[in-house]
Amino acid sequence: MKLPTDLNKIWGFAVRSALVNRRNVFAVFEMFFWPGVAIFSVGLLTRFLQLDVATVTFILIGAVSMNTIQIAQLDLSYALLYSVWAKSLKHEFMAPIRLSHILLGSGLVGLVRGLLVFVLMGFLSTWLFDMELGRPGVAGLILFLLGIFLNAFIIGALVLALVLRFGQRAEVAAWAFSYLILLLCGLYYPVSVLPPGARQLAQLIPLTYFLDYFRHFYGFPLASAHPLLYGFLQSVIYIFISYALLYQTLKNALKRGTLLRLSE
């Protein structure tokens, strides 16, 4: 492994992802429009329900997290979908690249876009609905964001595996998969309100612990004794699992001829 060579490969995917986003009006739209709509609709709903500031903050943290994850994972999920749509998949895999180059390059752009969404939504929440985004302090914010991006990375890698297996049909999964996870992790409500089976499932999602950690800065009691420990530990385990799954899917694609079929 030569570092400058690897960096060029990672940078190649990052620049491609950035260029596609820049030239696609809908990519800009999904970055600003939907997060804006989410903040306004959720914020105004809490105002109509006359909720106290603490509860409003609880819900807005969920809205900000959801949109940040959605945008951050999209760049990863789309990394191979772009190639499938362009029918150029075989040319990408003809090059001496590894999956880590795709994941890191596209993930880098997802991280930047996710960060922009987080800042935009945080600013709107603070300005319009009195949420104190800065209350957890720099360290709290960084740890929470790190957790959010690790979750986005896991979702994105799993969607990539689906794309390599099913091609364009997996596009729907890019959205559906993250919504399913977000539904279970207590985005707009405490996990304790979930039905018993779902509550146990929520314990298997790292985002549950990161939301728990972030919300405790706003006065909500911790549901778990060591949310960061569980959150990061689970994230690392899932990253390994999703990478292994993606690797195995690529090997199967090389056996089945999926790369060629998706390039026709």
């Binding site: 030569k2 400058p4 060579t5 690897d6 960096l7 060029n8 490969k9 940078w11 190649g12 620049v15 491609r16 260029l19 596609v20 030239r23 696609n24 772009y82 190639s83 749509w85 362009a86 029918k87 150029s88 075989k90 040319h91 990408e92 895999f93 003809m94 090059a95 001496p96 690249i97 590894r98 180059h101 090997k251 090389l254 056996k255 089945r256 001829g257 790369l259 060629l260 390039s263």
Partner: protein, 312 residues
């Protein structure tokens, strides 16, 4: 001569449906290609040409058999091998919203190139394939010919030692196809680049390939120089001469380039190696006998005829 490609007993089957039966696409294919050669694999659609080339390029794993390209195992040393090879296929497809230059830069980076080295290589290739004035045009706006040229430029971005060309001129107008063929020949002669080419165009194979192999239904039927194979099989272009009365009294078998002939009342059918070269001297020889020719029909030899002859 060093060996660039050595494939032994390559087998590959696919399922058409998830639980359907396995359909064999390649059946124990062996092939050896020397370094610096342009080798052609000829075959009709569905013969297994793309599957074979994809296995050699590391894009597909064989079910059985072994293959080495540039001395590297295509399965176990695929990543190392990919640094030294590249591929251009018919109907080049790249990301629609990137310009010609950006697409080249993207692929250049995937080969680990960057900075001035990559910039210089891009300039060189844009110039080589006459794409400089189209460098800022997005891929979706390029004409078919320009897309194909960009495909070839991309295939050379890493200065490969071996190039796979999968029906590189399909879909191009004759002039552009000819231009590309000349470019391929020039690259081979100037740089010693080994090229494995698939085509179903005999003329293309004739112009480019020192040696060819025929692939049909997953089996390699014959290999050798195209002229030598035609000679051996006595197959070539057909020239039919229609005479208003009896045919010209000539020993047709002794005319240059004639592989076989058949004389019938008022008609002579000749098989020649290259009709466009041989027709004029044949007509000249007939003119000397003072026998007028009413009609001349030309028909190029087609692959199916060669396959029929090889398989029987």
């Amino acid at each position: 001569m060093q060996t660039a490609i050595l494939a032994q007993g390559i087998v590959k089957s696919f399922r058409e449906r998830l639980w359907g039966p396995l359909k064999p696409v390649l059946r124990e294919v062996d092939l050896e290609v020397g370094a610096g050669a342009i080798f052609g694999i000829l075959g009709p659609n569905g013969a297994g040409k793309t599957t074979f080339i994809s296995i050699l390029a590391g894009l597909l794993l064989p079910d059985a058999g072994q293959a080495q390209v540039l001395g590297l195992d295509v399965v176990r040393q695929a990543t190392l091998l990919r640094e030294r090879i590249n591929l251009a296929a018919s109907g080049a497809h790249f990301l629609w919203c990137l310009t010609a230059e950006e697409n080249l830069r993207f692929y250049g980076r995937l080969y680990g190139l960057g900075g001035r080295t990559l910039a210089a290589r891009i300039e060189e290739l844009l110039e080589l394939f006459d794409l400089t004035s189209h460098r800022r045009v997005t891929f979706e706006r390029l004409s078919t010919g320009l897309k194909q040229r960009l495909g070839l430029a991309k295939a050379l971005i890493n200065t490969p030692e071996l190039l796979f060309l999968d029906e590189p001129t399909t879909g191009l107008d004759p002039e552009m196809a000819q231009h590309l063929r000349e470019e391929i020949l020039r690259l081979n002669r100037q740089t010693g680049l080994t090229i494995l080419l698939t085509t179903h165009n005999l003329r293309e194979a004739e112009m480019l390939c020192g040696e060819v192999a025929f692939l049909k239904e997953g089996r390699l039927l014959a290999r050798g120089g195209l002229a030598e194979l035609q000679q051996r099989l006595r197959l070539g272009d057909r020239i039919s001469l229609i005479f208003p009365d009896s045919p010209a009294p000539l020993d047709y078998g002794r005319l240059p380039g004639v592989l076989s002939f058949k004389v019938q009342p008022g008609r002579v059918d000749l098989r020649v190696d290259r009709a466009e070269v041989r027709l004029a001297p044949i007509l000249e020889a007939i003119a000397q006998t003072q026998k007028p020719v009413a009609e001349v029909h030309l028909q190029e030899v087609d692959l199916e005829e060669i396959y029929r002859e090889i398989t029987h």
